[in-house]
Subunit: 210 residues, 2 copies
């Protein structure tokens, strides 16, 4: 049964995708409501009735990004067959996603509001939490790898996770600076080679024959 009043003549997800594109290219602060209404094809009152405010719109855009635009970079980490596969996936998938020709370069979550002051504090905090969670996701996978025996006991999983997330966040800057897919993939491959070298177990000491 349709609702009582006049039906809206736009699809919520369709216009959210338009908003995502604008926020992704221009960041939160520099995207004006005029930019959004133009891109979404809505008059301001329709936009505010549907999404509440610029900040509320961005929150919904961020959810859409995580569902469809985030490209599954981080979601696959927990289910990956090994820590190495998780690292390879994150780095290479990032290189691909950040150079996708149909999308703005780099990651919305890294690039949309890097200032600690200035942009809406709530927006900054949400994005910061997403970035911090990237580290946790990696760390937890690495800890499991230690328990599984893939990684040596005593491996500093927090340090490795922070290091890799930092590299991946830097790849957004690189992409935004115009790097092509080959350059991004080169960084990913170098990072993966570094991973292999970092976590290679030193030759196990000969077991005590006694």
């Amino acid at each position: 049964m349709p609702p009582r009043g006049r039906p809206r003549n736009f699809d919520r997800e369709t216009v959210l995708r338009k908003a995502l594109d604008v926020f992704w290219r221009k960041g939160f602060e520099h995207t004006s409501m005029a930019d959004l209404t133009a891109a979404m094809g809505l008059n301001p009152p329709s936009l505010y009735a549907a999404f509440g405010s610029k900040e509320g719109l961005f929150r919904e855009v961020l959810e859409l990004y995580r569902r469809h635009g985030g490209n599954g970079i981080w979601e696959a980490v927990a289910d990956s067959a090994s820590a190495r596969e998780a690292v390879a996936h994150v780095l290479r998938r990032s290189a691909q996603a950040f150079s996708h020709e149909d999308r703005p370069p780099g990651c919305l979550i890294v690039l949309a509001a890097p200032q600690s002051e200035g942009a809406s504090p709530a927006i900054c905090e949400i994005l910061r939490e997403h970035r911090t969670r990237n580290i946790s996701v990696l760390r937890e996978r690495f800890e499991r790898a230690v328990a599984d025996g893939e990684l040596a006991p005593g491996t500093d999983c927090q340090a490795l996770a922070t290091y890799l997330a930092t590299l991946q966040h830097g790849m957004s800057i690189l992409a935004r600076d115009g790097a092509d897919r080959a350059a991004l993939m080169s960084v990913a491959d170098t990072g993966l080679a570094a991973w292999d070298a970092l976590v290679s177990r030193p030759p196990a000491p000969a077991p005590d024959p006694h």
Copy 2:
């Protein structure tokens, strides 16, 4: 001999430091002229007479940052005794500088205007060139290290330089997200360990006895 008219009652460099602090914390776009006049203690006409425009002020702030605020992260690369020392210096000095308690966290050049659209295109381009130059500085040092025999012939200097600059740029994001000096230094040390592992020459084949 003093100039003809009424002397200005502020020191150019002193107020530039105030402006640097504001731009560093809030980025180019979200810093308003009202923020700047308040922090610098100037009325708008004095500010415009001295610096021309917000963009002109930022250009001078950027020069000041490179001279005094940049902390000598990249300047020492060309003169470093070895490629490894250059890498160690860049990573560790960044960890220190990005967590200096008297300064905003992270690097102005990475954080001030990450959007490709939106902020003044000229400002974005200047910052982008600085970041790109970071890669070149590293690459050139690595190429010299290959010529010196420190690095193996055939080493992909461009890939290594891009990888390390990407890591260093990511450290600004990490710092802006609140990481303390220990966390930043952990990333630096991990990156340095990765460097050592990446460039370690495979054992040289036994020289042909003939």
